[in-house]
């Protein structure tokens, strides 16, 4: 026992702290377990007093039911929105971040300060006027409307600028001596070395887009243009009637499907998530 503890740098009085802390960590994750557990129960067994963590019997009928809604379409919309927006945001952000870190031109410090200052503007201030504008030009409830307003996420510029500030000058000079112009320098020399900030920016911005709520809620009028979070939100008892009639098992199947992509991305790439977030303090 003593040996076991010592090998792990623990003393005897660390053990109760450790046990309580780990118990809290598991309790913290319990809502996810409850979500999945409920989604696998028979509707008749959901609305019952008493706690059953492992469903008996296990059923997938709630998932079948949830796919009777246009969930495939909502998933596709979310995927298109989040992928296109993230790709553009990361690429343009990398270009701007590279230029702001490496090129010398008048006003570059001021430009960066304007980008940072814009972070004080909450997006909620922009959604009403933007909605009016998109309705006016006839683009409400389109992919343009879902994608365009989410492209210019300053986090992308910030993370690439930080990275390229410490980019080795020798590489840049060697490339210039070889006759590479600025675009080749960026595309063939700088970008391939920026793997870490690229993954960090991509996973974080993709997740932000995947989860985005207020703007898609406002700008999608047709059922067929909804994104997954907005579509599934109709299962909320205060918004729609479905859950009131059928109980929570189908709703939990819906949110399980909705949370799988972002949770998977997080579990697989959490190193990048956490590095990117503690570097930028990003949050949407």
């Amino acid at each position: 026992m003593e040996d076991w503890l010592e090998k792990r740098g623990m003393r005897l009085w660390d053990v109760p702290v450790w046990l309580v802390g780990m118990a809290v960590a598991f309790i913290w994750a319990a809502p996810f377990v409850w979500m999945v557990s409920t989604s696998l129960k028979l509707p008749s067994k959901v609305m019952s007093e008493g706690i059953e963590w492992i469903p008996n019997p296990i059923t997938i009928q709630n998932y079948v039911k949830v796919f009777e809604f246009p969930v495939v379409r909502w998933l596709a919309n979310s995927l298109v929105q989040a992928s296109v927006s993230t790709a553009l945001c990361v690429f343009f952000g990398a270009m701007a971040g590279f230029a702001l870190a490496r090129f010398r031109f008048p006003g570059r410090a001021a430009i960066f300060l304007v980008f940072l200052a814009s972070l004080m503007v909450p997006v909620e201030v922009t959604v009403i006027p933007m909605l009016l504008a998109f309705i006016k030009i006839g683009w409400a409830s389109t992919y343009q409307a879902l994608i365009l307003p989410t492209i210019a996420n300053v986090f992308s510029v910030y993370i690439f600028r930080q990275f390229f500030l410490s980019f080795p000058k020798e590489l840049e000079e060697a490339a210039r001596l070889d006759g590479a112009g600025p675009f080749r320098l960026f595309l063939l020399v700088a970008l391939p070395l920026a793997r870490a900030p690229m993954i960090a920016a991509s996973v974080i911005i993709f997740t932000l887009n995947w989860n985005n709520f207020l703007w898609p809620l406002l700008v999608t009028f047709d059922e067929s243009m909804k994104t997954m979070p907005v579509g599934i939100a109709a299962f909320a008892p205060v918004v729609g009637t479905h859950t009131q009639l059928e109980g929570y098992s189908v709703a939990m199947a819906g949110v399980t499907v909705l949370s799988i992509p972002s949770l998977t991305l997080f579990f697989v790439l959490q190193k990048y998530f956490i590095a990117g977030i503690s570097q930028g303090g990003v949050k949407q």
């Binding site: 270009m95 909620e124 929570y248």
Partner: protein
């Protein structure tokens, strides 16, 4: 992660921005191509991040409905807002949200980070579990917690019943709805505070802690005299970020209670949404957004001032 604009730690970043460049001001040629590189990002930035704020300020002075011609009405929307009891209720609620969520997130985030920072076995797993809720959408948070907080069959009341506490109407009573939404919000928001505090903890030099230990300082006095002073900047940042994010609270309110019952869990942005979408008053909605914007700017300015004073 939450919807909305990115509130990157502008506090931290702005201080980094200026001094890192302009080292040499010799006659190296100007890279005009830099403007082209920036333009690809700057164009959508101006069109979709900046222009709507100016346009929104204009809309706030009009009566604007989806059909018909907008009409300039001066300060009428703002006068209406000041006389509107629902506006007062929404702003009062958001103060209560902040009073619950900001300390909840900061204190729990600090405690969880201190625990994970001990580096006990499985602390990597604990870190993953503490952060995970932060990466799912408001719809997931909202629906999962509506179900957990269900008065009759919900998990929480079921657990509470085992220790003799009667059923609490978490989301269906005027007295509890705001608290119910706050619980879900703390669960959702904690991850960011936790990760930021953990990163700051890992930056504290190990010898400092060891020196304090050698001087005979117990765990509590090490925390009080070594760790916490080091965390002051990050705690200040966490409080500001969380305060601003809570002032903007909308999505979980929409999914969990839709502002009810009787407006008891509404928020300024939820009211803005209702005014625009349900009542078709876009000018008035924009005026409410502008009022909140002023409050948020005020918070940012005060925070920067306080931060400068303490440094």
């Amino acid at each position: 992660m939450k919807s909305g604009s990115n509130t990157v730690s502008a506090v931290k970043a702005a201080s980094l921005a200026a001094p890192t460049q302009g080292v040499r001001r010799d006659k190296a040629p100007i890279d005009w191509i830099g403007y082209v590189f920036v333009a690809f990002f700057a164009l959508p930035f101006l069109l979709f991040n900046i222009l709507p704020v100016l346009f929104g300020a204009f809309v706030a002075f009009t009566e604007w409905r989806i059909i018909g011609t907008p009409e300039w009405i001066g300060l009428e929307n703002f006068a209406d807002a000041i006389g509107d009891e629902w506006v007062w209720l929404a702003f009062r609620n958001v103060v209560f949200y902040a009073l619950i969520i900001v300390p909840g997130v900061t204190i729990l985030g600090l405690v969880f980070a201190l625990f994970v920072n001990q580096g006990y076995p499985l602390s990597g797993l604990a870190r993953t579990l503490f952060f995970a809720p932060n990466v799912v959408s408001a719809t997931v948070i909202g629906l999962v917690w509506v179900w957990i907080l269900d008065t009759q069959y919900g998990l929480l009341n079921n657990v509470l019943a085992q220790i003799g506490i009667g059923a609490i109407p978490w989301l269906t009573s005027v007295d509890w709805a705001l608290i119910g939404v706050s619980i879900a919000s703390i669960w959702w928001d904690l991850g960011l505070a936790f990760v930021l505090i953990l990163a700051a903890l890992q930056d504290i030099p190990k010898d400092l802690i060891e020196a304090a230990r050698a001087d005979g300082a117990g765990p509590l006095s090490r925390l009080r005299f070594v760790t916490l002073p080091h965390l002051r900047p990050v705690l200040s940042m966490v409080v500001t970020l969380q305060l601003i994010s809570t002032l903007r609270i909308f999505s979980q309110v929409y999914v969990m209670t839709n502002g009810g019952p009787a407006g008891s869990s509404s928020s300024p942005i939820h009211y803005m949404y209702t005014v625009a979408i349900v009542r078709n008053l876009y000018g008035y909605a924009s005026a409410i957004a502008m009022l909140l914007f002023v409050v948020i700017l005020g918070v940012t300015v005060v925070q920067r001032f306080v931060l400068r004073e303490t440094q």
